[in-house]
């Protein structure tokens, strides 16, 4: 995949931002500032960032619990993420939900639910709509190796293939479903083989090699865009930390983890960029500084954000009446349409998005 230095730096930038935000999230958890389950994805960055980098405006992601990288690339703001982790009243879920259960259809982001596999057919419904109105958009729906064993996975991939939907399914095979290793979950060697049950193209790639991920997902996305229907890409990676921050993961053989740590996707990409003289020490410092600033801003913003208001606990169960706009149409910008705004607040969706991610000059505007 031929790319300009700016693109390459951007990829690196998002991989680093993802890693650092999760580091910070972990700290907040250890400080007791985040309650409940915290899922991070150290080692997934090549897959989550790489897969999302090939998308454009009008495309849609259906991310899961380890997909902070996809969120950041596609426009979920670090402030939104931190407000959500800290369960603030101004978080995208208004404190009702946590983790990266964040979405905004105007930005093509579907908020996941904890029940894994369920989001995949939701992705089909979005793709069905894009196809119906001959939009060029494509849906990128991800799931873990474990989620491929749910009935939902099967029904969604089958329906997508029958309808030849513009949707690409990305499996993040990180070797485990919680504590359960692959051999207790499925008998196939490559999960890409599951595509054969749907006469769908399937490919397994090195999920720790960002350029390889981008090539595979990029091709699948372009095929889907051109009306050739869905595809399944298995990105083989590894969950080098516990399932959640509460999980010591002592069920993972240390040597296995060590081996994968050597294949750290960021380290590998960094070496590549340095060899290519694209990532100089100066650039690196600028990037790290920018990332630090963004994360500090996000955490400060979240910590100074209000708690959720208990007097609203019974509110927002039903949406108000009124016209609904087709997402992506001009009407979707018209306040008279119920779904143009977050009616719970009267604000745009994820209004904490309003401070956009400003990349350092040399990393280039998006």
């Amino acid at each position: 995949m031929e790319m300009e230095r700016a693109d390459l730096l951007q990829i690196y930038y998002f991989m680093r931002l993802t890693r650092e935000m999760e580091e910070r999230t972990r700290k907040l958890f250890l400080q007791g500032k985040i309650v409940g389950g915290v899922y991070t994805a150290q080692g997934h960055e090549a897959t989550t960032v790489g897969a999302a980098m090939v998308l454009r405006d009008g495309d849609c992601i259906v991310p899961q619990h380890r997909d902070l990288g996809m969120h950041l690339v596609r426009g979920t703001s670090p402030r939104a993420v931190m407000c959500q982790w800290l369960a603030r009243g101004n978080s995208p879920a208004l404190g009702r939900d946590g983790q990266v259960h964040i979405g905004d259809m105007h930005h093509g982001i579907v908020p996941m639910i904890s029940l894994l596999g369920e989001s995949l057919s939701v992705g089909c419904g979005i793709a069905l709509t894009l196809k119906r109105f001959k939009r060029s958009g494509v849906v990128l729906a991800s799931c873990g190796d474990g989620a491929t064993n749910t009935g939902q996975f099967h029904e969604a991939l089958n329906f997508a293939s029958v309808q030849k939907l513009p949707i690409v399914f990305v499996i993040e095979n990180n070797g485990y479903a919680y504590s359960t290793p692959s051999h207790k979950q499925f008998a196939v060697k490559d999960l890409a083989d599951r595509a054969k049950a749907y006469a769908m193209p399937g490919e397994s790639v090195d999920g720790n090699n960002v350029l390889e991920v981008m090539t595979a997902v990029g091709n699948a996305v372009e095929n889907a865009r051109n009306g050739q229907g869905p595809a399944l890409i298995e990105c083989k990676t590894f969950r080098v930390r516990g399932h959640s921050e509460a999980d010591k993961a002592d069920y993972v053989p240390p040597e296995l983890r060590a081996e994968w740590l050597k294949k750290d996707p960021i380290k590998r990409f960094e070496e590549y960029l340095q060899k290519k003289k694209i990532l100089t020490a100066a650039r690196k410092d600028e990037i790290e500084a920018s990332i630090k600033a963004i994360i500090n801003d996000a955490v400060d913003f979240a910590e100074s954000s209000p708690q959720a208001d208990p007097s609203t606990v019974a509110d927002f169960v039903f949406a108000p009446d009124g016209p609904i706009a087709l997402i992506g149409s001009t009407q979707a910008q018209d306040e008279r349409y119920v779904n143009s705004l977050d009616r719970r607040t009267g604000q745009p969706f994820n209004s904490v998005n309003q401070v956009p991610l400003t990349l350092p000059e040399e990393v280039g505007k998006r």
Binding site: P92, A93, L94, R96, D97, H101, G103, D104, M105, V110, P111, I113, S114, L115, E118, S119, L120, S121, V122, G123, C124, G125, I126, A127, L128, T129, L130, K131, R132, G151, Q152, E155, A156, N158, F159, V162, Q163, F316, V317, F318, A319, P320, D321, G322, I324, A325, L326, I327, G328, S329, A332, V338, N339, D342, R343, R344, T345, F349
Partner: protein, 327 residues
């Protein structure tokens, strides 16, 4: 103007909404070429084409999940369950995906899940379900139970235009009943969700019911008038969520006695909540025990004599009403 059936009314509602609004479309098993197991969508494929009338694989979860996804895009999908019994196969998509979406994200999910429910058609344990109680207990989804041809059309239009997930329970026993044939207005009318209707006024007792049981209650009410000289007020709830507390309260306040009738099993059914509301809020008004007539706590049986014994009917209602009246 010709008199049409309850089934025709449902078909008309969908067709007219699809003509009115291109966001409305139908998906489900055999809804296209075949026009649906009960022919609700006969001719739709020809009129609207395969992108708006989608024959799906046998995948209830994918049907409902895809409806959620398209609703998030601003569409107004109508997901048909071939028999409402099969909704159990897409249960999680309703409970955790559709019903909680607006509440947690601010993004509306305007969709209808509809299908044939109810017994009396020799459908046996897997084709006679009355699933309302599960969803009545689930915040974030509306539940509608039309009993007349007029309401079937008017309520379905309101459901389709609503910005929330709506479970629309058609009673298949009523689909083609000649007695229910009615001439409907030519104009585009709707019946609002959340509004009950008094089918028959009376001073002596309030009967709260819905769906096919409305007719059993009306029959019983006639007998009570003729033979017992009792004036029974029959309230057809029409919507279970939102529930029309006002109409219910008003009626009970002037009759002071309540009989609740539903086809679904007794324990934990809709009647339980109605009784609880009244026992809490109208305690002073009650001149007799709140009485329920419902199916026994057993699965729905197939054999005709069992089905007959299982379902509430005018006779059982009569017995209960007389006991209550005599109280």
């Amino acid at each position: 103007m010709t008199a049409i059936t309850y089934l025709d009314a449902i078909s008309q509602a969908i067709r007219e909404e699809m003509r009115r609004d291109e966001a409305v479309f139908l998906l489900g098993e055999d809804v296209g070429t075949y026009g649906g197991a009960f022919k609700v969508s006969a001719g739709f494929l020809e009129e609207f084409g395969p992108e708006r009338v989608i024959d799906t694989p046998m995948s209830e979860a994918a049907i409902i999940g895809s409806a959620v996804g398209s609703a998030l895009m601003g569409m107004r999908p109508i997901a048909e369950m071939q028999y409402i019994d099969f909704i159990t196969c897409g249960f999680d998509q309703i409970i955790n995906m559709a019903s909680k979406m607006y509440w947690r994200s601010g993004m509306p999910v305007p969709m209808v899940i509809r299908g044939p429910s109810g017994g009396g058609t020799k459908g046996g344990p897997f084709h006679s379900a009355s699933p309302e109680a599960w969803f009545f207990h689930t915040p974030g989804i509306k539940v509608v139970v039309p009993s007349t041809t007029y309401d079937a059309k008017g309520l379905l239009k309101s459901a389709i235009r609503d910005n929330n997930p709506v479970l629309f329970l058609e009673h298949k026993l009523l689909y083609r009943q000649p007695e229910l044939r009615a001439e409907l207005p030519d104009d585009d009318y709707t019946v609002p969700l959340g509004k009950a209707i008094v089918r028959r006024e009376g001073e002596d007792m309030t009967v709260l019911t819905y769906g096919a049981m409305v007719y059993q209650c009306m029959q019983a009410a006639t007998v009570l008038e003729e033979e017992d000289d009792l004036e029974v007020e029959v309230v057809d709830l029409r919507s279970l969520t939102p529930l029309d507390r006002e109409t219910i309260m008003e009626s009970v306040k002037h009759t002071n006695k309540v009989l609740i009738v539903h086809e679904d099993a007794l324990t934990g059914g809709i009647g339980a909540e109605l009784a609880a509301i009244l026992a809490e809020e109208l305690f002073e008004y009650l001149d007799g025990p709140i009485t329920r007539v419902a199916a026994p706590d057993a699965p729905f049986p197939y054999a005709p004599p069992l089905e007959a014994a299982f379902l509430p009917n005018a006779e059982k209602i009569l017995t209960a009403a007389r006991k209550l009246a005599a109280y």
